[in-house]
């Protein structure tokens, strides 16, 4: 004889990731590592920004470079002589806390004070996947269109720093960078929004000062 039984599970997949993220943050805290999750659109300048920060910030820096299949970004960071782990997600569109935990095993955590985790270029999927970082920095650029903030509001709601990059070409691409700033502040009034051009160096010091401020508050 067979019988039918109902089994209550209540296992939230999102919560499971959050627990792993908390565990990652404990690992960071124990090792004295400040971790920054760098999110943003494809081609917005995430890799260039991290390269600039490696060169200008006076810390022992490490990088986790998330990418779908390639190791191009990891290779670029290696040229700056910092410890790098390339994380390929395969067909996945975001990093998750479990993948990051694996990468931590391959990093010399005791030699790192500041860790940048470059997420996969995507403004939608990474939103719900905390990695355990201390802050989230979202990088977008004017060339994605000045309606990009309103089209992807969730990623800006949880951000600590938002960088609007490539403002030097705003006029050429017909984008209003001030509208982008206003849109971000409407969604998340407490966030730091910085207009930058990594090509001219505009905004870079402001980005550094603000990361520094978050580190000091830790």
């Amino acid at each position: 004889m067979h019988k039918i039984a109902e089994v209550e599970i209540q296992h939230d997949i999102m919560l499971a990731n959050k627990k792993l993220a908390k565990r990652n943050q404990r690992i960071f805290d124990r090792a004295g590592v400040f971790a920054v999750d760098v999110l943003g659109a494809i081609g917005s300048g995430k890799t260039s920004l991290i390269e600039n920060l490696i060169d200008k910030m006076n810390y022992r820096i490490g990088v986790i470079a998330g990418d779908v299949i390639s190791r191009f970004d990891a290779g670029r960071f290696e040229n700056h002589c910092v410890p790098v782990v390339g994380l390929n997600t395969g067909k996945e569109c975001h990093l998750d806390a479990h993948l990051v935990e694996h990468a931590l095993h391959d990093l010399p955590m005791e030699d790192i004070e500041l860790l940048f985790i470059e997420n996969v270029g995507n403004l939608i999927c990474p939103v719900d996947f905390d990695l355990g970082s201390h802050i989230r920095m979202v990088v977008i650029s004017v060339s994605e269109g000045d309606d990009t903030v309103l089209k992807h509001p969730l990623i800006f709601k949880d951000a600590d720093i938002v960088v609007i990059n490539k403002v030097d070409i705003a006029e050429a691409v017909g984008a209003d960078e001030n509208k982008m700033v206003d849109d971000v502040l409407k969604l998340n009034p407490g966030v730091v929004v910085i207009k930058s051009s990594l090509k001219t160096g505009k905004g870079l010091d402001e980005i550094i000062n603000n990361i520094q401020k978050f580190m000091d508050e830790m």
């Binding site: 004889m1 019988k3 039918i4 209540q10 939230d12 997949i13 309103l150 089209k151 509001p153 709601k157």
Partner: protein
């Protein structure tokens, strides 16, 4: 877009619990999906059914319950269900009282495997 990894986690959870309960078959799985996860229910069902092939979950009915977005407005202290002018790609969440967008989202981001219905040998048999 991340339906595949979600489907994989859901399938693993259901099969794991079914195994622990000596199930011979899973007839039904109920999943709660928050509206703000932007998971597409049809894609999710399709991927669960593909990943279930040759497992205890194969052929089970997949029930997806949508969880509405609940907010706490930071401007006017409203607590409750938000206006979700929600098109798949344009989730604009506003306070229904004051229309402000500065709010804390308290519900709508879950992907919860709620329960399964299983078939098992009757213990008395």
């Amino acid at each position: 877009m991340h339906e595949l990894s979600m489907a994989d986690a859901i399938v693993k959870t259901a099969i794991d619990v079914a195994g622990k309960n000596n199930a011979q078959e899973i007839n039904e799985v109920t999943i709660e999906i928050g509206k703000l996860t932007l998971l597409n229910p049809e894609q999710l069902k399709f991927m669960i059914s593909v990943l279930s092939e040759n497992t205890l979950l194969e052929g089970a009915e997949i029930i997806i319950e949508e969880v509405p977005i609940e907010i706490k407005c930071k401007s006017c202290d409203f607590v409750g269900t938000a206006h979700d002018d929600l098109d798949y790609f344009v989730p604009i969440v506003k306070c229904p009282e004051c229309e402000e967008q500065d709010l804390k989202i308290t519900k709508g981001r879950e992907c919860n495997v709620k329960s399964i219905k299983i078939e098992k040998e009757d213990d008395d048999a």
